[in-house]
């Protein structure tokens, strides 16, 4: 069973890729370097406070803007185990699946969970539990095809496995 557990960083609507990783750092493709500046323009303490396993919870349209894959790469490299949002911008959603950053759409969870809560996620069932309040939520399941990409830990592995041409 795949699962995650961590403390929540909470953000609002329309968290764009420019605040997730500002373009002034896009001259680097190094994941560790990008992680140092993750969320810098919206939450300057994020990179120093975030710990392995922590979870980002946000409102609607998370990851809007640019197609830069550096955005989910920076989040993943900063140790975040999952992003939960009411909705995701299309390219960010694709990029996250393609690089193996777990993301879940769940409006109820995004409304109820507060910054600093400890949350666990069971990726097999899509159940999100706020351990601080005891509340549980059901995230939206991925279509089977996308689940296979996630299970392969990214698009390249999925294609290499031959599954894509079957």
């Amino acid at each position: 069973m795949k699962a995650a557990k961590g403390t929540v960083f909470k953000y609002g609507d329309n968290v764009d890729t420019d605040v997730i990783i500002p373009a002034r750092y896009l001259n680097s493709t190094d994941a560790g370097e990008l992680a140092k500046h993750c969320m810098e323009d919206i939450d300057k303490d994020f990179a120093t406070k975030v710990q392995d396993g922590d979870i980002i919870v946000a409102d609607k349209n998370f990851g809007c803007g640019s197609s830069r894959e550096h955005a989910p790469i920076a989040i993943k490299a900063s140790g975040v185990s999952c992003v939960i949002a009411k909705s995701f911008a299309r390219i960010f959603y694709r990029n996250s699946i393609n690089i193996g950053l777990p993301i879940i759409e769940c409006e109820e969870a995004a409304d109820a969970i507060k910054a600093g809560d400890v949350v666990t996620i069971d990726f097999d069932t899509g159940v999100i539990t706020d351990e601080t309040t005891g509340e549980s939520f059901k995230g939206q399941a991925f279509p089977p095809f996308m689940q296979k990409i996630i299970d392969s830990e990214g698009l390249i592995n999925y294609i290499n496995s031959g599954a894509a041409t079957n």
């Binding site: 329309n14 764009d16 420019d18 605040v19 500002p22 373009a23 002034r24 896009l26 001259n27 680097s28 493709t29 323009d41 919206i42 609607k60 349209n61 809007c64 803007g65 640019s66 197609s67 830069r68 894959e69 550096h70 989910p72 790469i73 909705s87 911008a89 299309r90 390219i91 694709r94 990029n95 393609n98 690089i99 279509p143 095809f145 990214g154 698009l155 390249i156 592995n157 294609i159 290499n160 894509a164």
Partner: protein, 423 residues
């Protein structure tokens, strides 16, 4: 009987299917895969992980270093070197070096690489621009670009669509930028999330190709998967001029195609529109705008760096001078546009007005270089995003507007429309 939109028909044809429906997952064959100097290095690195080496078709990949080019620093230079060497190793036909390079979404249509009926993915969110010519084109990330380069295929979830019925004729200073800002203000930055935006109606004949490129370009700013126009005489004339000999296919929506929503946009009622910080949906017209002093104006980008845009800006700036202390930066989007602007005397007008003219680059739009903002500075920009910190300091401000408004603002030193200059 099928009930497909333009976008769905293109996707069906490239997936080898007679019919597709919204929500269906398909795998489709690509006509072009695009990347730039920011996204390609990540893709090239991913490509190394493939068990099968090489690219699917050296003629169907376009590599355009344009964001931090000419190289702004050593790291950017290394990224460009990585792209250049990859292009050389794989004999990529459409690699554009400094000198041929332009801003990708102006350069590719101008070079005849994008035509009606094509299915195009690009590792740049503004890849949706080519819908202006009746192509299905959409932005993706670097891993999808790598997979596209290796296999010539990509997976898509077939989008539903919103129909924008365009009617009427715009007034003198109202352009494609005002049309798309008006629409984003109306439906919001996620108003078309995952959907196609199909722009149709008798009014499109009153929109030039450059207006249409601007409109399709900013579909992503409403969350759209793609923006698309039907192929009319104006589009065909453009393709005949720029894409001689390249076969194009015209797809029309079925009469009973289904749309999630339909809006009518009357061009004759639109006014100059400005998106205030920090979202493209925060739109205002001048009857609601007080004096807002500004420090810089940028006229350029994949949204508004084309010849029509420069002509409009020059018409406003001709015989005038930018306000004292104002930095006005004009960036023709391609070498061809630059040359044409020179031949038409536009560059002379800009320089005489106290503006500077830069070689093609995305530079200032994303806070790269060539016009980065300091703390608390304000910029009127013809670019596409006004997010926090997009052009520099996190407490700087960007006001998105048309070339006419940007040029007028450069003269007055505040957010202004051309009529304030007696135009």
């Amino acid at each position: 009987m099928s009930k497909m939109t333009m976008s769905q028909k293109i996707l069906a044809a490239h997936a080898g299917l007679d019919e597709v429906h919204a929500g269906q997952l398909i795998e489709a064959n690509l006509d072009l895969v695009l990347g730039n100097d920011i996204t390609s290095p990540v893709a090239i690195n991913e490509l190394k992980k493939f068990t099968k080496e090489g690219v699917f078709d050296k003629d169907k990949i376009a590599l355009v270093p344009d964001h931090f080019v000419p190289n702004k620093d050593i790291k950017s230079a290394e990224n460009c070197k990585c792209v250049r060497e990859f292009a050389k190793r794989n004999n990529i036909t459409n690699y554009f070096e400094v000198g041929q390079m332009g801003i990708e979404h102006a350069l590719l249509p101008e070079s005849g690489l994008t035509v009606a009926g094509d299915l195009i993915i690009g590792a740049d969110s503004h890849t949706c621009t080519y819908g202006a010519l009746g192509a299905f084109s959409t932005g993706i990330g670097s891993t999808d670009m790598a997979a596209g380069m290796a296999t010539g295929k990509a997976w898509f979830k077939v989008p539903s669509a919103i129909k924008f019925n365009i009617v009427g004729k715009p007034s003198k200073w109202v352009s494609g930028k005002d049309v798309i800002l008006h629409i984003i203000g109306m439906i919001g930055v996620d108003g078309a999330l995952y959907k196609s935006m199909e722009f149709v109606g008798e009014g499109i004949k009153n929109l030039s190709m450059d207006d249409r490129f601007t409109i399709a370009n900013m579909a992503i700013e409403a969350g759209g998967k793609n923006g698309i126009f039907p192929v009319d005489d104006i589009a065909i004339e453009y393709m005949n001029e720029h894409a001689k000999g390249k076969k194009y296919v015209v797809y029309e929506a079925d009469e009973d195609a289904e749309y999630d929503a339909e809006y009518t946009i009357d061009l004759s009622t639109l006014k100059s529109t400005v998106a205030f910080p920090h979202l493209p949906e925060n739109t205002h017209t001048f009857d609601e705008i007080d004096d807002i002093a500004i420090d810089q104006v940028v006229i350029g980008s994949c949204t508004n760096g084309r010849i029509d845009d420069l002509r409009t800006a020059a018409e406003v700036l001709k015989g005038r001078h930018v306000a004292e202390g104002m930095r006005c930066i004009v960036i023709p989007a391609t070498q061809k546009i630059y040359l044409q602007a020179m031949e038409e005397g536009l560059i002379k007008t800009f320089i005489e007005a106290g503006a500077i003219v830069s070689t093609p680059t995305c530079g200032p739009c994303l806070g790269g270089y060539m016009g980065v903002l300091a703390s608390k500075e304000r910029c009127v920009s013809t670019t596409n995003r006004n997010f926090v910190g997009r052009m520099g300091a996190i407490d700087s401000e960007i006001y998105l507007a048309s070339p006419a408004v940007a040029a007028a603002s450069a003269v007055t030193g505040k957010v202004s429309e051309p009529c304030e200059l007696g135009l």
